[in-house]
């Protein structure tokens, strides 16, 4: 498993190159064909027993992060968010700016002593900046510039019974797909593993990948919100850590086919793999694009629950990783009878 290495790599939307290079190296020995398109999608083909259908597994390589917007004359770095991040979770986060040089910084904010209403006032992007220890913009010439990507400075570690890292969304999907490829199984149908770009800014990579592959059936492997924090009431949960892969019924802009929903459940039950059903329809992922792409295709979404998603630090459960991998592998080897109906 290379989840640790994947999470530690920087790769905000549009800047997935280090992640792509790493994955390409990992799976090179197990691929029948490798393509990279102009949006940066890494597409890996596994020839099946039957080439009459095309199956696609997809996980996105990009993570949410920040980007240098402006360097003030006093050496303060102003930034914007890339993907959905609440400004209020950012103060005091440690970040790494991936410029010509790699710089460490901390997100600064007015000290509490000087804020009249620190608790009541929502934190806005305008009041946040990155302090890299420079005293003027001249100090930073030649090392960082506008447009440089910024990632959270969070190292993977094992944390009690959980795993902690940035970017579980969606390196966990990438890691599961790498593990699937390394099993070197010949699938029933020709199968493409797509490591997609730019999901977090609007499901972009998956759109061009879908156009090229035109899958008959696709499975999206994701990291999804686990809203099971101790202070949240049970009926507000979305998914829970440790309860297995989350199967989606519906999400923002798409309702999954009952055939696929029932197929996932029956495969889990057949192999005695625990699963849970995602209890909220808020949020979305690449499955929306794939489902309504071209002439439309069957698509399903399997997700690993991730607590504190889209923040500098997220947590996930090792058993959820194993169970999601087992379920994905079982689906991979299953006869997709609904495709021939």
């Amino acid at each position: 498993m290379v989840l640790k290495e994947l999470c530690n790599l920087p790769g905000i939307s549009g800047y997935e190159n280090e992640v792509r290079t790493f994955i390409r190296h990992e799976i090179a020995d197990f691929a029948d064909e490798i393509k990279i398109d102009c949006l940066g999608n890494l597409m890996v083909k596994k020839r099946g027993h039957n080439c009459s259908k095309h199956i696609m597994y997809l996980a996105h390589m990009d993570e949410v992060g920040l980007m240098v917007e402006k360097i003030d004359s006093n050496g303060i770095v102003k930034f914007s968010t890339v993907g959905g991040i609440l400004p209020s979770i950012l103060p005091a986060s440690r970040v790494t700016i991936m410029g010509k040089k790699t710089l460490q910084g901390v997100i600064g904010i007015l000290p509490i002593h000087l804020q009249k209403n620190a608790i009541m006032d929502p934190i806005k992007m305008d009041s946040l900046y990155i302090d890299v220890g420079a005293s003027s913009d001249k100090d930073l010439q030649g090392s960082i510039e506008m447009g440089d990507p910024i990632v959270f400075n969070t190292a993977y570690e094992e944390y009690g019974r959980l795993w902690k890292a940035k970017a579980f969304d969606d390196r966990v999907g990438c890691s599961i797909m790498i593990d699937m490829l390394k099993q070197n199984i010949t699938p029933a149908y020709d199968t493409w593993f797509v490591f997609a770009t730019q999901e977090e800014v609007g499901l972009r990579g998956s759109a061009t990948a879908t156009y090229q592959i035109q899958p008959d059936f696709a499975v999206v492997l994701e990291g999804t919100t686990a809203c099971d924090n101790p202070l949240v009431e049970r009926n507000r949960y979305t998914t829970q850590l440790g309860k297995g892969p989350a199967i989606s019924i519906a999400h923002n802009g798409f309702v999954f086919s009952k055939k696929i929903f029932d197929f996932f459940k029956s495969v889990s039950e057949k192999h005695q793999i625990p699963y849970q059903i995602k209890e909220k329809v808020a949020g979305g992922n690449d499955a929306t694009n794939i489902g309504k792409g071209e002439k439309g295709s069957y698509v399903g979404s399997l997700s690993v629950p991730v607590r504190y998603i889209h923040s500098p630090v997220s947590l996930m459960h090792p058993e959820d990783y194993q169970n999601t991998l087992q379920l994905a592998l079982a689906i991979y080897q299953e006869n997709h009878s609904f495709l021939t109906l």
Partner: protein
């Protein structure tokens, strides 16, 4: 017309679970079309062969609904929306689940003690469904997680108006079925798309239209009414019941093709069919995705004015329904020249 409409609106088929309505429509039109098929998204696509260019008529089969996601320890069912609901309108509505269980929507009453009669905090987090179960086990024996639901609200004939859930967009499904059944002559190569998942984001229509590559597209959908129609109605919405089908000028999903609209007006004038124009400052229809298919399609939308949209009591005018049928029939018979 009334019988088909009553049959269609009383079928429960929310976004993503359109099979029951799909089967009913298929059975009503199969003998009248040359080809009929469903695709992977569940769209029903019927083809009536003709000359030359392809004209696509679209109506969506899905209605807004709910899905059960969690059953709590006391047997209350927690739901999530399928399509656009305003949660404030939901308390005490009756709903019916896919396999027949019924219930009413309740909400956590303590939000009222904080805010008086203010229901702003009514949301899908504070709503639940009471199916009359005495325990979690009883609820689990009646409802499966993932089961969908729709309003439990039968068709009512009010004389000059009809009222029901799911007028959006079964009224258009019924109109297209009636058109297919009664069309004697037609010019173009006609495609009829009964689309899925419109209410969650124009999903089915996008894929269906991609496969067909039409030259002309006409979506049939419902539209809101405004200040001329109901007491202190919406100020920016001029449409009203009884003034005829509404020819779409624009909404949030598209600006309709002006030339096609002018041609439709000519047809309506020649046949003395009344019509009104529609400018809708919110919402969209499948017209928006048909228009941008591949290298583009001449597209508009003809709307049936409807009161109380997305409620259990959507109301249409009988004359509007008849006039819309006359208009689409006149359109289908002629050659479109732009």
């Amino acid at each position: 017309m009334k019988d088909i409409l009553k049959q269609f609106v009383e079928i429960s088929a929310p976004s993503g679970r359109e099979e029951p309505i799909q089967k009913a429509i298929r059975a009503s039109i199969q003998p009248y079309v040359d080809e009929i098929r469903t695709d992977s998204l569940g769209n029903l696509i019927a083809h009536k062969k003709g000359n030359g260019k392809k004209l696509l008529f679209d109506a969506h089969m899905d209605e807004i609904g709910f899905v059960a996601t969690y059953i709590d320890d006391h047997g209350f069912v927690h739901i999530e929306p399928l399509g656009g609901h305003n949660p404030v309108n939901l308390p005490f509505q009756r709903i019916c689940f896919e396999y027949g269980s019924k219930g009413t929507i309740g909400f956590e009453s303590e939000i009222l003690s904080k805010n008086g009669a203010d229901r702003k905090e009514v949301s899908f987090d504070t709503l639940y469904v009471d199916i009359g179960a005495r325990s979690k086990n009883e609820a689990l024996s009646k409802i499966r997680i993932g089961e969908t639901a729709t309003y439990d609200s039968p068709f009512v004939d009010l004389g000059n108006r009809y009222m029901s859930k799911a007028m959006d967009d079964r009224i258009a499904c019924a109109l297209l079925v009636k058109l297919i059944q009664t069309l004697q002559t037609h010019h173009h190569d006609l495609y009829f798309v009964f689309a899925t998942q419109e209410e969650v984001g124009l999903v089915g229509s996008k894929a269906a239209s991609y496969g067909i590559e039409p030259d002309f597209g006409i979506a049939l959908d419902v539209t809101a009414t405004g200040f001329e129609d109901t007491p202190k109605g919406l100020k920016r919405v001029p449409m009203k019941l009884g003034a005829g089908p509404a020819i779409k000028i624009q909404d949030r999903s598209m600006i309709a093709n002006h030339n096609l609209n002018q041609w439709i007006q000519t047809v309506a004038d020649q046949n003395r069919i009344p019509y009104q124009f529609e400018v809708l400052p919110f919402g969209g229809t499948n017209g928006g995705v048909i228009q941008t298919t591949k290298s583009g399609v001449y597209t508009t939308c003809i709307s049936i004015p409807t009161r109380y949209l997305h409620s259990p009591s959507e109301m249409v005018d009988v004359m509007d329904v008849q006039n819309t049928l006359q208009l689409v029939k006149a359109i289908a018979e002629k050659e479109i020249v732009l």
